[in-house]
Symmetry: D2
């Protein structure tokens, strides 16, 4: 029997991408689409590309807990800071939840306060959350009630870095990450700063050293065994719609060879259908756009005793909605790739 799904925050870009993926998922049905600011409008009014598809005529609605009583799983695709107002009631109602925002990724509420510039008002629920990085956490994900779906930048950085730091091949301190993101990562919003004229034909770094994915990356690396890890992370906004390019620099531990690096990655990901290892090949964003893949390349730079690692993802898929579906597949006992190839 198909699983019944609702989405809270269905009208943003991640919500729309979830919807597109669920359309092609054979084991789910979409029940309710909640979107406060668009309540009463149809899906294809906001996203005309859904015209004449099965979901095109569905109306966005105001959320009410009674409406989801028969659902098997709830996606929350709201901006960070909003999920925490929904999660407690959903948990108490026994619902399984995948939160695509940042409210339940950090265990440390001090770090939450520092990086998100707000108080966490559902702190007692944080320990319900399992970090939804399927390649590293599949077992716990399968059993979880609440999934904190990873941040887009964090996904692009963690998948390449985790095998290297947890195997002790690189120094866990001082890892440097320079990432470039397409503009859809900033969400569907009205602002001069995100207008075409301001963003086109330019690049800007932002939140240098203060981006909220910094503690997320550090927390997860520490959690998987490389304690004391610190990273330097600089995101840049570039004029493309979708995709994240991450270029990472780590110091090699004495004697680490290229073969060890390659083996650590290939061993770890031999059974991971969405991780493509390019060796010395160089990733390009266009190769993963509209897919759930992450492509990873690496080069040893002997001159400075570094490994340079590059990765690409589609921020709306492997960095958001696709990974959420992958988590759903694990939670529901579906094939991990269902609806994603």
């Amino acid at each position: 029997m198909k699983k019944s799904i609702s989405i809270i925050g269905a009208s943003g870009y991640s919500g729309a991408e979830l919807l597109r993926l669920l359309l092609h998922h054979p084991q789910t049905t979409v029940n309710h689409l909640f979107a406060h600011s668009s309540a009463g409008k149809s899906v294809d009014t906001l996203y005309p590309r859904f015209r004449s598809t099965p979901v095109g005529g569905i109306l966005f609605e105001e959320f009410h807990i009674d409406k989801i009583v028969d659902d098997d799983l709830i996606f929350i695709a709201l901006p960070s800071g909003e999920a925490m107002t929904y999660v407690p009631a959903l948990i108490e109602a026994g619902k399984r939840i995948i939160d695509l925002g940042g409210d339940f990724r950090l265990q440390d509420i001090q770090a939450y306060r520092q990086y998100h510039k707000r108080e966490h008002n559902a702190a007692s629920y944080i320990n319900h959350a399992v970090y939804g990085l399927p390649e590293w956490n599949a077992g716990r994900i399968a059993a979880a009630q609440l999934i904190a779906n990873p941040g887009c930048y964090a996904t692009g950085a963690l998948l390449p870095l985790l095998p290297l730091v947890t195997s002790g091949l690189v120094e866990s301190n001082g890892i440097t990450i320079s990432s470039q993101s397409g503009v859809s990562g900033a969400g569907r919003s009205a602002s001069v700063e995100l207008s075409f004229t301001e963003v086109n034909e330019t690049v800007r770094a932002y939140r240098i050293g203060t981006h909220q994915h910094t503690p997320e990356i550090e927390t997860v690396i520490n959690q998987f065994g490389a304690s004391g890890t610190t990273v330097t992370f600089v995101p840049h906004l570039i004029p493309i719609t979708r995709g994240i390019y991450s270029t990472m620099f780590a110091q090699l531990r004495n004697g680490t060879t290229k073969e060890e690096i390659s083996r650590a990655l290939s061993t770890r990901y031999s059974q991971s259908p969405f991780v493509r290892l390019l060796g010395e090949g160089i990733p390009e964003i266009k190769n993963v756009q509209h897919t759930n893949y992450i492509d990873i390349g690496w080069q040893i730079y002997d001159r400075n005793h570094q490994v340079i690692v590059t990765s690409v993802i589609d921020n709306l898929i492997k960095g958001a909605a696709g990974q959420a579906i992958q988590n759903m597949n694990l939670m529901c006992g579906f094939k991990e790739t269902e609806g994603l190839l």
Copy 2:
């Protein structure tokens, strides 16, 4: 002695472009920059590219009529509908004005109401206005107190079409204009519709048959002698920052030859420094970006007894600030090209 200039609405894209051009104009000094929503901020806060230039540190201010008492000329670079609240007092104060918006381009207030969807509240001042198309109106511009600077689309359409219709070489009825504009034409504003993610990698037509430059084009053609002219005009928004491409179709009058078309254009514009005639060459937007030129090409399409005319301008320069400076040059007795080459 240098002319003293102030700008009302200086913080938008046309205002900033005016400022850039005035920086290099040897016979003017910038006095005040008025911008209500940015009052108190410096020019280089809003537009960091002006850092370390002479105008970078100027503060935007609230407008007050006393501040411009010594100015020789006032530019108004506000959205249509706002200039009409300033113009009466400026006229009464004896100031010369160049309005880059649409409030004084249409003589017919009914048409103004229909296309702008608002009432005109300074109707008695419309007849003070001279339409600021220098290639056609230089004499009246030189003597004018109030200039209605032409609309961007109107400029791109009128300069190629006027010689053809006024010489009777083409039918003045049923001229069809399909134009494509860069996004800066929509101004500096916060809206989902103009966000990078929504505008990038797509095209959309808008205000089909209802755009306010339709009556502007018709009015001006009629005014220069081809009465009864009607045009069909469809603008499109495309993912570039600056530039307008206009492709126009007109029916040839019986027997009109390619040579007559060419002669009409070359005769008319032999003394016009900013009109470049390409003959059967095809214009490209990149050739006029950041310049005050208009490039015009034409082909006879015998099969349908048409002439196909194409033109390109930079919407912020020949379509706005550059043409305004050109008008100022004529009004002040400067060389027409001063500050614009």
Copy 3:
């Protein structure tokens, strides 16, 4: 049993898109991929996005007729002028063929010579060809041996125009079409003119009145009953990767109403799964990218007794590979939408 498919010219953009679509088509298997200049390379060398998919490791090969002896259907995705060297032998071998190029679209070899600037060297095979516009030719397509898959611009123009001209609601003479195409329409080729730096942030019209889709559009309109039709067609190259926007202008016959226009379109396409009629809604390219849909909008412009029709397609899908699959579905008795939704 699955149909065995090979592609001649598999390494270009249309070939790669065919391959992507066939990957998800449940009733076909890909046999050979022929690509002279890339022979010996793997699919994922040229198109790394196919890594780890079933077709990623397939090698491009030199064509030989013996290799396709067991195939049910051959796609030819070569530049115009090349298919005619393959088709005769394939026809004689009894193969069914879908040619995505322009060699078999025009019945008139004089027109072929004039617009393609070359001789047709397989003229006796032209009359085998059926024009592959499924919404208008489904019966003949199902039985055809050789399909001339429509040109991208022609598809975007014909689907909206055919119902209007064949029903006599608009004048069939003097229809004007202004189209804008993404750069992938020019194919995968090395040229300064198509380099990013030359194409970005600009627009240019090209082949004004001389583009080879002009006679294609006229031929097909005449063939479906509106004889004597002539069109004026101007294509423009714009800085997007995929998509075609067509804005079309036709004179209304006396008394034609908006309702008649709407009824002509809705009646004609009530059973057409890939045609979406927007009425006075305005199409946008982004709504059809990566799909086989065409979106069509229309407005009556009374002032000039015109109907203004707009359409959007993805040039590589409904304008090439998707429509080819749609034709294959009809030829093989599959569901028309198989592999395309």
Copy 4:
């Protein structure tokens, strides 16, 4: 009296930008434009934006040494590897030369061979060359016969880094540079890899650790006193036309404060008209496009004892033609900013 200038390799992007700048330089006249592949064509055939300017009608010519006998200064704007075939004869003829390519930037011909993959065939002339970074080498530039104009990436990295490493505030080893360049940096050339369809909406790193600007950066840092410096440099190609964004990471020496960093930069560049120091402000490419400015920002990242430095330039101006004019100004005793503001 005006200086007479010729350009060898005038038809590429740097050559065209030189030409545009020289047009507005009051103390020079353009004598010959040499461009082998475009010989016989006019400037405005290749670059229609020069139509109706004083240089539009100049014909590109084949080079001959006799033609430049009266010139005061020769710019060479050829791809690396070609200047070395011209320089010896020019030097012997007593000409002053500014080479915009890479042939005379590296003192070490082994490094030249390794990074450029070719032999240097004018090695004995390398020691004539002065590295043309005006902010650091003005005295030697003024007296030089041969200027090696800095590489675009090198300029964006060296100007921010030199004050920090030479003052001993940061470790000179292990500096990491991640740069993003617009596509014009690859020159005017026909290749599939640089076609719009391949470059648009994507990012790719290239020549990771092997780019020829790596030894250039190291050489210059070593030359100015911080010996033993090694850098890790990763360039990325991004879909914009002009501009380079460089994000750099250096380890702070014990006790280095933000104030010391700021002072080192502001002291060094207090008299440098093209260096704009933003402090904790973050540079954006659009603020320097079409200018000779470099904007530099910096942040202390205490957590990892690093300073993160960001810079932006226009690769064709401060990264090529503009800096070349700046060097010319110094060589000829003109004002440093002449023709550049």
